[in-house]
């Protein structure tokens, strides 16, 4: 900023460096003609070296085709931020659920990517059918316990160039494949376990190196090609309306779609703008929100494999919601022309779209009516109107006997999903128990996209939850717990053998749907515990107050 004597370095709109979007790539230093900009190593950034890790000189890296076009000065300044690792067959490269900050690029060899977490959801059973049958929580696969509106019956999204099939969550990675991109860019937990099938040689790199490489045309082109060949079709087929598209049209789309990147906070599409494109999410999380007079309502968080933008295109009208990148997002953009062409050629697509549009329109209208009918500004500060279901304790009746908490623990194998503490509103205590929030922060960052919501907006945790605990950390109310289960899994270090391990699955209040009524409410002897819909509950209260 400034000129001459008053010139100084500034970032973004004069933000401090630490608050800016600067990623310390060093390109400015490379470009500086006078060498006035230089690098001062305050905190040494380097990947922990080990016997299997090999550091590089910049000249060595530049010999490799994948680094063609990368600045040598940058590589020199970031020595230690990229290492070459060798893995022997059977060696684990990374484990699902572990936190990390690096990505891997395979140079040689083949690796197997899989989920070791049991593909099953937590089911509580017993009790309802007999007096003496103890309530137990078990893991139930989809065919043993069918739940309505379960999604993603085809693939499980992971942080790699492939997705995993639900029925057999194993895939192969080979030379030119990149995995761990989300972990590296956004520090999410590893989404799957990667095991070397043969001798594997891979680069492990930090975020600043990955970011520069993703800006490099040749590297970018290779990653894009891998995605188009291996995962894009599954993502396209994952959109229910596209299930019947012909193979030749899919091939056409694979060649014509554009991959676009967005920085954290960047708006992809704004409410009210003209609708032009249809988007599929390749990596990252996208927030879908609606703006109204009183503020903003978050409708959904979309992750890999999800899609948005179709409603506006159908009517040739405007965007009905704002879509914002929550972190480093990459989307597949299907242009307006391709979309219209598709709708024209495949009537089933249009029919599917019309059904979805009608449903969404009804939901939006109902939501807006609710929002306008209650002076929500009072409740927004407490987040109460963000909830769809609240456990309210009437403190004037409650004798603090904890029967509700004991009942919840009894109904869930000793692990309570309710804490008798939280916000107070007049004589009511809003207990800490899943609120089925309209802004489900728990969903942001799930490495396998397993926590999502049904069309009724109820939160559901899918079978492939890997128990990393990120949703539990994200929930601002502490309403998600990790429930441990003992399972037998393949011993990766000794093929052919199994070992007993404890696997965790995220759980939250399930309203005791298996018992028809929440146990906390059923067990309260003083008529103090109630599950309420905050819309009707608070509007009745406010309506009574207004009448006075």
């Amino acid at each position: 900023m400034g000129k001459g004597y008053s010139a100084r370095i500034a970032f973004d709109l004069n933000a401090p460096m630490g608050d800016s979007t600067c990623i310390s790539c060093g390109e400015c230093m490379v470009s500086c003609p006078t060498g006035a900009l230089t690098n001062k190593t305050v905190v040494g950034t380097s990947i922990t070296a080990g016997p299997d890790a090999q550091g590089f000189e910049a000249e060595e890296l530049l010999q490799l085709p994948v680094f063609k076009g990368i600045s040598g000065t940058f590589l020199e300044l970031n020595r230690g931020a990229i290492v070459k690792r060798r893995f022997q067959p059977g060696e684990i490269i990374c484990r699902e659920g572990e936190f990390g900050s690096t990505a891997f690029y395979i140079l040689e060899g083949k690796a197997r990517v899989s989920l070791s977490a049991p593909i099953a959801h937590v089911k509580t059973q017993g009790g309802a059918k007999g007096l003496f049958k103890k309530l137990t929580s078990t893991l139930a696969a989809r065919d043993a316990d069918v739940r309505s509106e379960e999604t993603r019956d085809r693939t499980i999204p992971i942080d790699a160039s492939v997705d995993l099939a639900y029925g057999n969550p194993v895939a192969e990675l080979g030379p030119g494949d990149l995995f761990g991109e989300m972990t590296c860019m956004n520090f999410y937990p590893r989404s799957a376990t990667v095991l070397a099938d043969t001798d594997v040689v891979a680069f492990e790199m930090l975020r600043n190196v990955l970011d520069i490489m993703m800006k490099n045309k040749s590297f970018r082109a290779q990653i894009d090609q891998n995605y188009r060949q291996r995962a894009l079709e599954n993502h396209l087929r994952g959109v229910p309306m596209f299930a019947d598209l012909s193979p030749d049209f899919i091939e056409h789309l694979k060649g014509s779609v554009e991959l676009q990147r967005f920085a954290p906070g960047q708006v992809i599409a704004r409410q009210g703008d003209a609708a032009k494109n249809f988007y599929l999410v390749r990596i990252g999380f996208v927030k879908i929100s609606e703006t109204y007079a009183g503020g903003e309502l978050v409708l959904a968080y979309l992750s890999r494999g999800d899609y948005f933008g179709e409603i506006g295109l159908l009517a040739g009208g405007v965007r009905t919601a704002t879509c914002t990148a929550l972190d480093h997002v990459e989307v597949v953009r299907i242009s307006d022309d391709d979309f219209r062409n598709m709708v024209k050629r495949f009537p089933s697509v249009r029919q599917g779209l019309e059904v979805v549009a009608a449903e969404r329109g009804a939901q939006n209208q109902q939501r807006m009516q609710t929002v306008r009918s209650v002076p929500i500004d009072q409740f927004l500060s407490q987040g109460l109107m963000q909830a769809q279901s609240l456990l309210i304790l009437d403190l004037q009746n409650c004798t603090r006997c904890d029967a509700c908490v004991n009942a919840c623990a009894d109904a869930h194998d000793g692990i309570t999903r309710l804490v008798r503490e939280g916000l107070r509103f007049e004589q009511y205590l809003v207990a800490t128990s899943c609120r089925q929030c309209r802004d489900p922060l728990c969903m942001v960052g799930c490495p396998v996209g397993s926590i999502r919501r049904r069309n009724s907006l109820e939160v559901i945790i899918e079978d492939w939850c890997i128990g990393c605990g990120l949703c539990a950390r994200n929930c601002p109310y502490g309403n998600i717990n990790l429930h441990p289960f003992e399972v037998m899994v393949e011993d990766l270090e000794r093929p052919g053998r199994k070992k007993a391990v404890v696997k965790q699955k995220a759980t939250s209040c399930d309203l005791c749907t298996h018992l028809k009524e929440p146990s906390c409410v059923y067990a309260c002897p003083h008529d103090a515990a109630h599950r309420v819909d905050p819309r009707t509950f608070f509007s009745e209260m406010l309506g009574g107050g207004a009448a006075k």
């Binding site: 400034g2 008053s6 100084r8 004069n14 401090p16 460096m17 630490g18 608050d19 009790g127 309802a128 007096l131 309530l135 403190l395 004037q396 009746n397 409650c398 004798t399 603090r400 006997c401 029967a403 004991n406 009942a407 009894d410 109904a411 804490v419 008798r420 503490e421 107070r424 004589q427 018992l515 146990s519 059923y522 067990a523 309260c524 002897p525 003083h526 008529d527």
Partner: protein, 320 residues
Amino acid sequence: MQGACAVRIDKKQRGWAVASLVIFAVFTAWYSAYAVHAPSGGWGGSALGLTFGAIGFAFMVFAALLGARKRVPVWRIGRAQAWMRGHLWLGLLSLPVILFHGGFHFGGTLTSILMWLLIITVVSGVLGAALQHYVPRVMTTDVKLETIYDEIGNVQKLLREEADRGVESICGPLGVGKSASEEVLRAGGLSAARSMSIVSSGGAVAAAAETVMLTEEECAFLRKFYLGEMRPFLERPRQRRSRLGDADKAHGAFSGLRTVMPQSAQATLEDLEDICDEARQLVRQEQLHHLLHGWLLVHIPLSLTLILLGAVHAVMALRY
């Protein structure tokens, strides 16, 4: 006043109340008719006396089963509320029914003990019901900063630590013992709290939080108050001797302190006063919690003894 203090017989209690009144009226009429015509008045060994005894004992057993019901909260054998209402009304009815059973005579040693046990149990139950009706309202009004009862000790410890930090931020180290968790917080918490601000000269610097240390004389005054009065209060808030245990006296103490402390210390003093207020509220919560649940220490053992001795009495009376 009436709305706040009247016993609330809402629609859900009405059914039980009416049924109990009807049962009582029927039994009273039945007993009256019997007692008038009985040659030596009513007595427990007569047919009607035994009937009343069996009914009364059945009412007591049902009432006692509430404890067992609470042990299996998820069993679908009737809502806990229904069991509680049954406990209250049938438990209350058991007293007149047993009086009818004995013909209003207390009898021998065992039966006298049983009668007194029953009377005390029923009276303690009525008292407990009244407490459970009124005390929650008092707790809701008086204890705005209520926490879970088992966490009161932890919260009190956190209040002490917060008060220590507040005073040390303007007076320097106090020299009081720190917990391990507090040391960890100090290691990273203060630096993490510093805000980044843009200084006009054009560089971004880390600015320290605005705190102005007091002079030695001012510190001495505050330290004397804090270490001599407030910290002992926070360590043992139930002690009655401290004026900080009374809201008005505490307010007076802090008002006096405000007049002698400089402007830079006013925010800290306000925080300290809030901490004292919260500590008082937690003491009040403890008192009310003991009131809410303490009567059970009498009611439950007595009722179990009553059931046990009642069974013994029934066997002995019928067999011998």
